[in-house]
C-alpha cells in the first residue's frame, strides 16, 4: 500500500497549503488573470506566463508555482468562451471547441455548450491531479539512479523532443536550439569559471535566463501581433445561457473521462502540450461515440473530450517538468526559468530536494479548480467584455508591462534591452518557422547540459564510451533518436504538402501566404 501513501501524502500536503489565506489570494488573482487571458484570442499560456513572470520573483517558489499553475488552469477554461461565443478559439487547443461550440451557440443552445465546457474542464482538471502525483513521484525516485550521463541524456532528450515536435522544419528547429545554446554560452565557463564571449562588463555574469526566455517567448509574440490592427468584439452578440441539466451532462461523462486520461498522458510528452492532447482526445471520442456524425456540427461529446483533455494536459505537462526537469511545453520552459532564477536547479532531484514544489503544484491546480467551480459559470458572460477591450491597447500596454517587470527583477536596464532584442529576434523566428520554444528550452537547459557532459566525462576517466554505455543513458539516447526520426518524418511530410500545393496551383497563386 506504499503507492497509496505516495499518492495521498502530496495530495494532503497540497490541500494543507490551501490553509494559507495569502496563497488563496494569489490563486484567485491567477484565476482571474488566467480566465481573462484565455478569453482574449492571441494571448496563449506562454504569453500569459511571460507577462507575469517577472512578478513571480518577489514570491517564494511555492507561491510562484501555485500562482502560475492557477493561471494555466483558468486559461484553459477561459479559451473556450470566445471559442463558443465567437468561433474564435482563445488558444489553438480550443479550435475544436470552436467548431462544435459555436454550432450549438448558433442554434440557441449556448448554455448547453458553455455548461458542458465548464463541467468537462473542471472534471478533467481534478482527475488529472492524482494521475500527476502518481506519475511524478516515481520519476523523482530516479534521482538516486541518475548520474551525470543520465542527466546529460535527459537534457539532450528534452531538446531533441521539442525540436522534433514543434515547427514544420527539423533543420530550422536545430538552428533554433543551437541559437539558444549559443546565447547560454555567454558568461562564465561552468568548469573553469573563466569568461567566455563576455566582451562588455554586463556580459560577465552571462545573459539572465528570465529576460531571454520572456523576450523569445512573450515579446516576440507581441511584436508579431503588432502586425495587425483589428478588434475582436465585431462578432459578439447577446445571448441567454441556462446551465444544462444532469440528463444533458450525463452522456458527456465518458468522453470527459477519456479526455482526462489522454490529456494527462499526451501532455506528459515533452513538446506535445494541450493542442495535440485535445485533438487526440477528440478523435478518440469520435471513434467510440454512438453519434460520430455529429462531431464538428455541435457535438457535446466532442466539446467534453476537447475541454477535459486540454485541462488535464496542465498536470500532464508538469510530469516531465517537475519530475525530470524537462519542460513539457513552452509555458513550462518559463516555469522552470522562474524556478531557476529563484536558485532551484531543474532536474530529477528538484522534487526530492524541494518536495514543497510538488505540494504547491497540487495546491495551485486544486485551488484554481475550486475557485472556477464557484465563479467560472458567472465569468463566462463577463468575459465577453474582456473581448471588447481594445486589442491594440492591450498589446502596447503588455509590452510596457513586460519592460517594467523585467526591470524589476534586478533593476538593470540592460536586462530590459536584452529582453526586447530577443523579442525582435524571436519575431523573425516566429514568422519564418524557427522554433522559439526550442531556443528558449536550450537556454534553460544549456548550463546543466554542458556541466553534466564535462564533469561527467571527468568522472568516467574521460571515456565517452563508458559515459554513454550505461543502460539508462542508452535508453534515453534511443528515445531521442526516435523523436529525431519523428521530426524527420514531419519535415518530409510538410515538404510533400508544400510540393503538392505548389504543383496544384499556378505560380504565385493559391499559396497560404503571410
Amino acid at each position: 500500500m506504499d503507492w497509496l501513501s505516495e499518492l495521498a501524502d502530496p495530495l494532503i500536503a497540497g490541500a494543507a497549503l490551501l490553509g494559507d489565506l495569502g496563497l488563496w489570494i494569489l490563486v484567485l488573482i491567477g484565476v482571474l488573470y488566467g480566465v481573462v487571458a484565455g478569453a482574449m484570442p492571441g494571448i496563449g499560456s506562454t504569453l500569459a506566463y511571460g507577462l507575469v513572470l517577472p512578478f513571480t520573483f518577489v514570491m517564494s517558489p511555492v507561491e510562484a508555482v501555485a500562482f502560475l499553475l492557477a493561471i494555466s488552469v483558468a486559461l484553459q477554461y477561459g479559451n473556450s468562451i470566445p471559442a463558443i461565443l465567437l468561433a474564435v478559439p482563445g488558444t489553438p487547443a480550443a479550435v475544436l471547441t470552436a467548431l462544435d461550440g459555436f454550432a450549438l451557440h448558433r442554434r440557441g443552445e449556448t448554455g448547453l455548450a458553455l455548461g458542458i465546457s465548464f463541467t468537462a474542464a473542471l472534471i478533467g482538471q481534478v482527475i488529472s491531479i492524482p494521475f500527476f502525483v502518481l506519475l511524478v513521484v516515481p520519476l523523482s525516485g530516479l534521482a538516486y539512479v541518475f548520474l551525470a550521463p543520465e542527466l546529460f541524456a535527459l537534457y539532450l532528450f528534452g531538446m531533441v523532443a521539442i525540436v522534433s515536435l514543434t515547427g514544420k522544419n527539423l533543420f530550422k528547429g536545430i538552428a533554433a536550439a543551437a541559437f539558444g545554446l549559443s546565447i547560454a554560452f555567454v558568461g562564465l565557463d561552468p568548469m573553469n569559471f573563466t569568461e567566455r564571449f563576455a566582451y562588455i562588463p554586463e556580459l560577465r555574469g552571462g545573459l539572465s535566463v528570465g529576460p531571454v526566455t520572456i523576450g523569445l517567448l512573450a515579446v516576440s509574440e507581441l511584436f508579431r501581433q503588432a502586425r495587425q490592427s483589428f478588434q475582436w468584439n465585431a462578432l459578439a452578440t447577446e445571448f441567454v445561457a441556462k446551465f444544462p441539466s444532469w440528463a444533458q451532462i450525463r452522456p458527456t461523462l465518458r468522453p470527459t473521462l477519456l479526455g482526462s486520461v489522454v490529456g494527462t498522458l499526451v501532455g506528459a510528452i515533452p513538446g506535445a502540450g494541450s493542442t495535440p492532447a485535445a485533438l487526440i482526445a477528440y478523435q478518440q471520442s469520435q471513434m467510440w461515440s454512438k453519434t460520430p456524425e455529429e462531431f464538428g456540427k455541435g457535438s457535446i461529446e466532442g466539446i467534453a473530450a476537447n475541454e477535459s483533455a486540454q485541462n488535464a494536459s496542465n498536470a500532464g505537462e508538469l510530469i516531465p517538468t517537475l519530475g525530470l526537469g524537462i519542460p513539457g511545453s513552452p509555458s513550462m520552459v518559463l516555469l522552470l526559468a522562474a524556478l531557476q532564477i529563484q536558485g532551484l536547479i531543474p532536474g530529477p532531484l528538484l522534487i526530492r530536494e524541494t518536495p514543497e514544489l510538488l505540494h504547491a503544484a497540487v495546491a495551485g491546480m486544486l485551488g484554481a479548480s475550486v475557485l472556477l467551480l464557484i465563479t467560472g459559470w458567472f465569468m463566462a458572460r463577463a468575459m465577453l467584455r474582456a473581448i471588447s477591450i481594445n486589442r491594440q491597447v492591450v498589446i502596447v500596454l503588455a509590452l510596457a508591462a513586460v519592460a517594467l517587470g523585467v526591470f524589476s527583477i534586478q533593476f538593470r536596464l540592460f536586462d530590459v534591452l536584452v529582453c526586447m532584442v530577443m523579442g525582435v529576434i524571436g519575431y523573425f523566428m516566429l514568422r519564418y518557422g524557427y522554433s522559439v520554444a526550442a531556443a528558449s528550452l536550450a537556454v534553460v537547459l544549456a548550463s546543466g547540459f554542458e556541466q553534466q557532459l564535462r564533469r561527467g566525462l571527468n568522472l568516467f576517466d574521460n571515456s565517452i564510451i563508458s559515459f554513454l554505455s550505461r543502460p539508462i543513458t542508452l535508453l534515453i539516447v534511443a528515445a531521442s533518436l526516435i523523436f529525431l526520426y519523428v521530426g524527420v518524418r514531419r519535415t518530409l511530410a510538410f515538404q510533400r504538402e508544400e510540393r503538392r500545393v505548389r504543383d496544384g496551383a499556378s505560380p504565385g497563386e493559391g499559396f497560404p501566404v503571410q
Partner: protein, 176 residues
C-alpha cells in the same frame, strides 16, 4: 511567406555560426582540463548552425530553380485570416520599444512611458484622444505608484528625480 526573406534568414544563420566559430577559436583554454573544454560545445553548436543553415539555403535555391515565384508555403506563425498585416507597423513598434528602453534613463520612467505608449498606439492605428490619454496617463501613474511606492522598485526618474524626492516620494533613484 516571402522566400527571399527566408533565404536571407538562412544565410544569417550560416553567418552567425561562422562568427561563433571564429570567436570560439579565439578563446583561451581553461586551467582545469576536461576532454570537451571551454571550446568544445561552442564549436559543435557553430557547426550545427552552419550545417543547418547551408541545408536551408540549398533547399531554397533548389526550389527556386524549379519555381521562380517569390511566395512559398508558410512555415511560421500565420496572421489572423481576413485582416490586413503590415510588417512596417510591427517594425515601427519594435523600434519604438527599443527606443523606449534607451530613453528610460535620460528622461525617466514618468516621461518616457507616456511618450512611448502614445507613439506606439498611434502607430497601431488608435486615434481616439481619450483612449490615448487615459491609457498613457493611467498606466504610467498606476504602475509608478504600485512599483515605486508599494513594491520599492527603484525606477529611473531622470529630470524629475529631484522634484519627486523633495515631494517626499521615496524609492526615487537619483540619476548620477
Amino acid at each position: 511567406m516571402d522566400r527571399r526573406a527566408d533565404l536571407a534568414l538562412a544565410v544569417a544563420v550560416v553567418g552567425f555560426g561562422g562568427v561563433l566559430f571564429v570567436l570560439t577559436s579565439q578563446l583561451e583554454p581553461g586551467v582545469y582540463f576536461d576532454p570537451v573544454g571551454k571550446q568544445g560545445l561552442p564549436y559543435i553548436v557553430s557547426g550545427a548552425l552552419v550545417a543547418s543553415g547551408l541545408v536551408l539555403v540549398a533547399r531554397r535555391l533548389a526550389a527556386w530553380a524549379r519555381d521562380p515565384s517569390d511566395l512559398v508555403y508558410a512555415e511560421g506563425a500565420e496572421d489572423e485570416a481576413g485582416q490586413p498585416a503590415s510588417v512596417r507597423q510591427a517594425g515601427a513598434v519594435m523600434v519604438l520599444t527599443l527606443g523606449y528602453v534607451v530613453i528610460w534613463t535620460p528622461l525617466g520612467y514618468l516621461i518616457a512611458t507616456p511618450i512611448y505608449l502614445v507613439s506606439a498606439l498611434l502607430v497601431m492605428g488608435v486615434r481616439s484622444i481619450s483612449v490615448l490619454a487615459v491609457a498613457a496617463l493611467s498606466y504610467t501613474i498606476i504602475t509608478f505608484l504600485v512599483f515605486s511606492q508599494l513594491l520599492g522598485v527603484r525606477l529611473p526618474l531622470g529630470p524629475l528625480s529631484e522634484l519627486l524626492s523633495s515631494a517626499a516620494l521615496t524609492a526615487v533613484w537619483k540619476h548620477v
